[in-house]
Amino acid sequence: MKNRLKVLRAERDWSQAELAGRLDVSRQAVNAIETGKHDPSLPLAFRIARLFGMRIEEIFDDGEHHDG
């Protein structure tokens, strides 16, 4: 699943370890999500969205297009 995590992290000048600590996950998990190797669980996706003050679908893109 594509996502904007790396961009959002870079905008805040956070390292992967910094983001991982704020999300209470491992740095490897952040790296795997950023590179699209791992999809976060729903609770983690909510934590990510809350941390960046955005909605989940503004961060993650499952490639499906929805009509209004």
Binding site: A20, R22, S26, Q28
Partner: protein, 155 residues
Amino acid sequence: MMESIMTDRKTRQVGPGEARSMARRRRYFTYVAFGGLVGGIAGFATGFFDQGDGNLFAGDWELLRLPPALALVIAGLLLAGFLALPIYSFRLIDDYQREQGLIGYSGGYLGVMAGFPTWAALYGGGFVPAPHAFGIFAIGFVSMCVSYLYARWRL
């Protein structure tokens, strides 16, 4: 140049997230060290205090002799190392690490499920010695490690 980089690293403020990440890594390495210590003590005690001629690798269990009290202690350590600690670790790690761990355990399970009957069939044909408990354990353990490393590499 190198000196300035090192100075930057020393003086750079560690954010709250990085501090939590470092604490997480410390917890992880403490857990690994403790698990290794428990396994090491159990293995050493089994080998050191064995009063018979048993050998784990040869599988001649009937020759293995331990003082009963020590056997109970070792059994407790093994249950802690192979059952309680892994279950506890699953509560410490995140979803990503849990996925890798589950792939590792699945690989170990499949290794035993496929390994034992295959070994037995080959024994029946006279190709290999008879299956024994430590060999089955080793198949499971190696399969688990290989599966886990594969998951770490691919996922």
